[in-house]
Amino acid sequence: MDVRSQMSMVFHLDKCIGCHTCSIACKNIWTDRKGAEYQWWNNVETKPGTGYPSKWEDQDIYKGGWEKKNGDISLKGAGKLRGLMNIFHNPHLPVIDDYYEPFTYKYLDLIESPAMTDQPTARPVSLITGKPIDIKSGPNWDDDLSGTPDYARKDPNLLKLSPAEQEAMFQLERMAFYYLPRICNHCLNPACVASCPSGAIYKRGEDGIVLINQNVCRAWRMCVTACPYKKSYYNWHTGKSEKCILCYPRLEVGQAPACMHSCVGRIRYLGVMLYDADLIHEAASEDENNLVDRQLDILLDPFDPEVIASAKKNGIADSTIKAAQNSPTYKFVKKWGLALPLHPEFRTLPMLFYVPPLLPVMASLKEVDNKAQSEKMDPIAKNWNDNWLYDTSTEELWGTIEQARFPLKYLASLFSAGDEEKVKHILKKLMAVRIHRRGITVGDIDEAKVKQAMNDTGLTPEAAEEIYYLTSLAKFDDRFVIPASHREQSIEMLDFTGDAKGTTGFGFKETPARGA
C-alpha cells in the first residue's frame, strides 16, 4: 500500500443556480490576461448542451483521455509514439473557434464620437487581431438554451438515447436542464501529465494538485488534446499551456479556492482523500462497467489503523490525516455513496465528484386534455391551482424517478459510464433524505412511508440528518477542510529555515514575456 493524499472536490448539482460567480472569481484572479481571455479554468455549462469547448465530450472529435485496447490503456490522441510523430503538427489540437474568439467592444467610440445625426455604436473587435468581428459565440453562449437545435440537441450524451427518447426529452412541457460547473479534476491518472513530451506537467506529491511548469512547457501542445475534459488550455500569446491550479497559493495558507469560496449556491466541497497509489493503473484499466467501483475502491478509509500507519510511513502529516477524517468529500463519495465522477469512461480517475441532480428528474408528467385544462385557468393569476402537468408530490416515492421527464440514461452517460442503476440509487437516496426531512418538518408523510424510503436506500435517520446538514446548513469550515500544507518541511529539505525565512519576499521575478 502506497498511501498518498489528494485534494478532492464534490459539486452538488442540485444546488447550482448557474450564476457563474465561480467563473468570474477565477477569471479575475487568474486568466484576465492576453492569450488567456478565452480560458475559463472554471466554467459552468447548461446540460443538455454542447459545452465548452463545443462538444468536448465527443472523443471521436477531440481524441482525449485513455482508451483500453488488448487489456491495457493508452492515450487516445497522444502518447510516446503518436505524440512524437505528430509533434510538428498536432492534428487533434482544438482551434480557438472551438471555444470562441475573444472580443471586446470599442467603447471609446461612444465617447469620442463627433456629433452626428445617428447614435454612435461600439463595434465588437477581436481581442486577437483587434479587427472588427461578427461575434459567432462567446463565453456561456448556450447558457440556459436547453431544447435549441444548435446546442442542446447536439449534446454528445444524447447519442446514447434513442431518437424517440430524444424527441420526448425536448417536448416543450418536458424540457428540463441543469448546470454543470467544471474545473480541472486533478485526476489520479492524468492524461495531461502522461502526454507532455517535455515533462512540464506534474502532480504534486503532497496534495495531488496537477500543475504545468511554465518554464518547462515548450508548446508541444499535446496536453490540450490529451485532457478529455479540455481543461488544459493553450495560451496563444505566451506559447505555453495553462490550467486550473486549484488556487494552490490560497490552499497553502488555508483558504478555499476562489471558485469555491465565492460559490453562491454553496454547492462546492473540498477535502483530503487518502488513496492507494499502487492501484491506480489497475483501476484505470478496469472494464467500463466496473470503472466507478474500482476508482472508489482505491480511496481509503482514513479511520482504518492500517491506512493511518501506512500514511504516516509515507510522511503524511497527522494534520492531513485528521483532515481526511473530517473530509466532506470522503463523506459524500465514500461514506454515503452520493457522488460520482464525471465521465469515468475517460479513465483519468478524476477527483472531482458530482452529486447528480435530482430536481430535473423529480417531477413526473401527466397526460392532459389541453382544452379542458385551459378552461380551468384562473383568469386573473393566469395559473392553475392543481398539479395538472407536473406532479412534484412525494407520494409516489420512487415512482417518479422511474418515469422521470429527464431520462436517467442521459445522466448515466455523464456520471456512471452508462450504468443507470448507480444514478437511480443515488437519486433515491437524495429523495429519501427529503422524505425524511419532510416527515420531520411538515409531518404530512406517513411514518411507514418514511421508514420504507429509508430501508429501500439503506439510510439511517442519523445518516440522513448528516446528509441534510452537510447539504443545506454546512458552514464554511464544514465545506472546506483544508489541512496545513507544511511548507516549512519542504523548505527544510532544501534550505535552512532561518535562511528561507530571512529571504521571504526577496528574489527575482521574470515577467512572462513571449519568446521570439
Binding site: L84, V95, G199, G515
Partner: protein, 242 residues
C-alpha cells in the same frame, strides 16, 4: 579579398559558434519561460499541416544527412563509390530539400496572410524564415548543379569544418569552392548565429527524453521517507543571511 574570405570563413564561424553557445546557454538558464516552439496551430490548424509537416520532416532527414557527412565522412564516400547509389542519395536529398522548400513556402505564406498568425509573428520570425528559405534554395541549387556534391562535402568540406572545431582553421579548400557552395556555408553560420535570438531555440529542447520517461510524473516538495523521521539533524549554524 583575403581579409574578406578570412572574415567569412574563419572569423564568422567562431563568432557564430561563440554567440550560439553563450547565447543559448544564457537563455536556457535565465529566461526559460521564453523557450517554446511558439506553436500557432491553436489559431490556425489546417494550413499549418501543409507547412510544418513537410518542412520539419525534410529538415530532420537533411540534418542527419549533414551530420553523418560531418562525423563519418568515409561512410558517404564509400556509399557514393557506386554511381547508382550516388544518384539515389542525391535524388533523396533533393526530394527532402524540395519538401522543406514547399513546407517553408506554405509557412511563410500562412504567416504573412493570416490575420491571427500575423499578430503572433515577430520580425525575427520573418528573418529566420527568410534565412532558411535562402539556405534551402542554395542547397537545392547545389544538388542540381553539382551532382557529386555529397562526395565533395565529405571529402573537402568536412576537413574544413573539423579544422574550425579543432581550432586550426584552414580555409584553402573553401575559397576554391563555387560561389553557391560558399554562400550555403555562410548561410549556415548565419542560421547558427540566429539561434539564441529566435524561436530556433525550440530545436535544442526537442523532447527526446519523453521516449524513456515513465508516463506519470509526481513531484514531492519533501522527501516523504525523511520528513517524519525524528533523526533529522538540528543545525547549530546561524542563518547565512543574518
Amino acid at each position: 579579398m583575403n581579409i574578406f574570405n578570412t572574415f567569412l570563413f574563419v572569423i564568422l564561424p567562431y563568432l557564430a559558434l561563440a554567440i550560439f553557445f553563450i547565447g543559448t546557454i544564457y537563455r536556457y538558464r535565465n529566461v526559460k519561460f521564453q523557450i517554446s516552439s511558439l506553436s500557432s496551430g491553436f489559431l490556425e490548424g489546417k494550413k499549418l499541416f501543409w507547412g510544418s509537416v513537410p518542412f520539419h520532416w525534410g529538415l530532420v532527414f537533411l540534418f542527419f544527412g549533414h551530420l553523418i557527412a560531418f562525423l563519418i565522412p568515409q561512410s558517404v564516400l564509400i556509399w557514393n563509390s557506386h554511381p547508382v547509389r550516388l544518384l539515389v542519395l542525391e535524388v533523396a536529398s533533393f526530394a527532402f530539400g524540395l519538401s522543406m522548400l514547399v513546407g517553408l513556402a506554405n509557412l511563410i505564406y500562412r504567416r504573412s496572410t493570416n490575420d491571427r498568425i500575423r499578430v503572433v509573428s515577430t520580425w525575427m520570425d520573418y528573418v529566420v524564415e527568410g534565412l532558411l528559405v535562402i539556405q534551402i534554395i542554395l542547397g537545392l541549387w547545389i544538388a542540381l548543379e553539382y551532382r557529386w556534391g555529397s562526395s565533395w562535402f565529405a571529402s573537402s568540406l568536412t576537413p574544413y569544418l573539423w579544422s574550425i572545431f579543432l581550432l586550426e582553421p584552414r580555409m584553402d579548400v573553401v575559397v576554391a569552392m563555387p560561389l553557391v557552395i560558399q554562400l550555403h556555408i555562410i548561410g549556415a553560420y548565419l542560421i547558427v548565429l540566429a539561434f539564441p535570438f529566435s524561436r530556433l531555440m525550440h530545436a535544442l529542447v526537442a523532447p527526446l527524453d519523453y521516449i524513456w520517461r515513465p508516463y506519470q510524473r509526481v513531484i514531492w516538495n519533501w522527501n516523504k521517507g525523511k520528513v517524519r523521521s525524528t533523526a533529522t539533524k538540528w543545525t547549530i549554524h546561524r542563518p547565512r543571511n543574518n
